[in-house]
């Protein structure tokens, strides 16, 4: 029996969706596949498998551009039907090109960047005030860290001692127009998070065991500091001709590229 939330299966689902809907943002989704897989497989708690349950952990996809990978996970959770994936991007269908809070399992409407993290900070604060022990995981993009609201949210989270908040940066080194180092250099995000009062670690964002271990350690250390996991990732990870190539932020699949990419994923 194949493993739950298999990274390869998620990538295949993303590729199928992108092919069915002739959509962009494939590379944005591929970079955070292992992060989502590990979170859904072992860390996120949804009592009674209810995406709206009052005691659920919160998963904030602040980087809404990666939403296709989340849709694949939500289908595996049973919250959206396979048919919705098959008809992705059709007129009059519910799944949009960016994260949308009206979809079961999507907590925020994001993709206008810099929105999800502040909302997640509010949810983490609510859990703290109520003493419920709920965790809040917020997946953000490194390009998204250009937004001023992200830094406002970090200040607030540290000040309110939200150690139930884990900010996971999908550090794929790209933003819309090019490499982050060329567009708006961020320097060491780990150092910046540390300077803002976070417990910050960095790991290979495609190494599931490393992600798993880091998330366990961060969650266990309830010392008042909010947590940051800087996940070093590769944009377009999993398909050789998409990796580290920002054109796959925008490029749509044609029959040849779809077949070639799927063939690589079949062998993975």
């Amino acid at each position: 029996m194949s493993q739950a939330f298999s990274a390869t299966a998620i990538r295949r689902a993303v590729l199928s969706m992108a092919h069915a809907g002739a959509t962009v943002h494939i590379a944005c989704a591929f970079s955070l596949v292992e992060i989502l897989a590990v979170l859904y497989r072992r860390h996120l708690r949804y009592p009674d498998n209810d995406p709206d349950g009052p005691l659920r952990d919160y998963l904030i996809l602040s980087k809404g551009h990666g939403v296709m990978a989340q849709y694949a996970c939500l289908r595996e959770k049973g919250w959206i039907p396979q048919e919705a994936l098959d008809r992705y991007f059709g007129d009059g269908t519910p799944l949009k090109g960016l994260s949308d809070a009206h979809v079961p399992g999507c907590e925020v409407t994001a993709g206008s960047l810099g929105h999800g993290l502040p909302v997640g900070v509010g949810m983490a604060l609510a859990a703290k005030l109520a003493g419920t022990g709920q965790m809040c995981y917020a997946i953000v993009g490194d390009g998204e860290m250009n937004e001023g609201t992200m830094w406002e949210a970090l200040l607030f989270a540290a000040h309110r001692r939200l150690d139930n908040l884990v900010v996971i940066v999908d550090e794929n080194g790209f933003q819309a127009m090019g490499r982050t180092a060329e567009v708006m250099g961020l320097g060491s995000l780990r150092d910046k998070f540390s300077a803002f009062g976070f417990e910050a670690v960095d790991v290979d964002g495609h190494d599931e065991a490393a992600l798993d271990g880091a998330l366990d350690a961060l969650r266990a250390n309830r010392d008042g500091r909010p947590k940051a996991l800087v996940a070093r990732t590769v944009k377009g990870k999993g398909v050789s001709f998409m990796e580290d190539d920002n054109r796959w932020h925008y490029t749509r699949l044609n029959p040849e590229t779809y077949a070639a990419a799927m063939a690589e994923l079949e062998q993975a």
Binding site: A101, H115, A126
Partner: protein, 308 residues
């Protein structure tokens, strides 16, 4: 009026521990009582208004009842996208208080004057826009807002122009409230909101004893009531301490423009569509924008001479 605001939120917070007050480091004296009686429900979010609105959305999603306080130039203007996307899209129960709306912060200049807040929010779905004129309307609008059923914006403008209503207000939200019956003349009726209700009453008394309605709610707005007034009167004069575009006057004009047959002319009186030129008091800026009593009277009289 401001005491009524403080009393209402203190009472709401005492009655329900889920009520939280968020501020972007404003409200120094205004929240003394709240901080004294409900310190655990007071969250100073620092000078970071956009994050504050996002945090409020997250709190509301988790079942809490946030009141977000800021100056109108920041809440809703600086935070408009957060209000739209984080709060209104999901129709979350967040109450926004925009203080000092209009020309109240006169001498602080264009950064703090806010004559665009109603227009900006009117085009955002799922949010009620309320604009109380006195202590009674403050209690009436907050009674609605503090039920925490959906997003509500309460516009707090100039608050010391005097009491308008004789007693508590009671009407379905969206209705105009009669504040001056007038002497039976059918030429002009006044509709005003916020600080300008008092001005409208003075103006009506100095003309032909015209009736005046107050609009404590700009959205929703009872279209049928406005249409009836537009059929009954030759002219509707709308007054607000807001840009003449997109506010209450715009809302009334949109309704009247959709009518067939004889209908009133709509005269919109408000802040000019330009930034204030000079430093000055609230009274001075009202003159600069032509919404002081003398200028208002002259504009009404001129519109009539042009209409005949």
């Amino acid at each position: 009026m401001r005491n009524a605001f403080s009393d209402a939120i203190v009472a709401a917070a005492k009655a329900d521990p889920k009520v939280l007050l968020l501020t972007g480091d404003h409200g120094y004296a205004l929240f003394d009582e709240f901080r004294r009686t409900c310190p655990d429900q007071f969250v100073n979010c620092g000078v970071a208004e956009q994050n504050m609105v996002g945090v409020a959305a997250g709190l509301a999603k988790a079942g809490l009842k946030p009141i977000v306080y800021g100056l109108a130039c920041f809440v809703p203007i600086r935070t408009l996208e957060q209000i739209k996307l984080d709060v209104c899209y999901e129709e979350l129960p967040v109450v926004f208080i925009g203080d000092g709306a209009g020309l109240v912060y006169s001498s602080l200049g264009s950064s703090h004057q806010s004559a665009e807040d109603i227009a900006a929010l009117r085009a955002v779905p799922n949010i009620d826009i309320l604009s109380p004129c006195d202590v009674h309307e403050m209690r009436y609008t907050l009674a609605h807002a503090l039920r925490f059923e959906r997003p509500v914006y309460v516009r707090m403008g100039k608050s010391d122009v005097g009491t308008v209503h004789a007693g508590p207000c009671a009407a379905p939200l969206g209705e105009l409230l009669p504040v001056r019956t007038g002497g039976g003349t059918r030429d002009t009726a006044f509709i005003a909101t916020g600080s300008m209700v008092r001005s409208a009453m003075d103006l009506a008394g100095s003309l032909e004893d015209n009736p005046v309605w107050s609009a404590p709610s700009i959205k929703p707005l009872h279209a049928g009531q406005i249409e009836a007034l537009a059929r009954e009167f030759d002219q509707l004069v709308v007054l607000e301490e807001h840009n003449r575009m997109g506010g209450l006057g715009g809302a009334v004009a949109e309704i009247v423009a959709g009518m067939r047959g004889p209908r009133a002319q709509v005269l919109r009186l408000g802040v000019d569509d330009r930034f204030s030129r000079f430093n000055g008091s609230w009274d001075y800026l009202r003159r600069e924008h032509g919404i002081d009593p003398d200028a208002l009277r002259a504009r009404v009289l001129q519109s009539r001479s042009e209409g005949r």
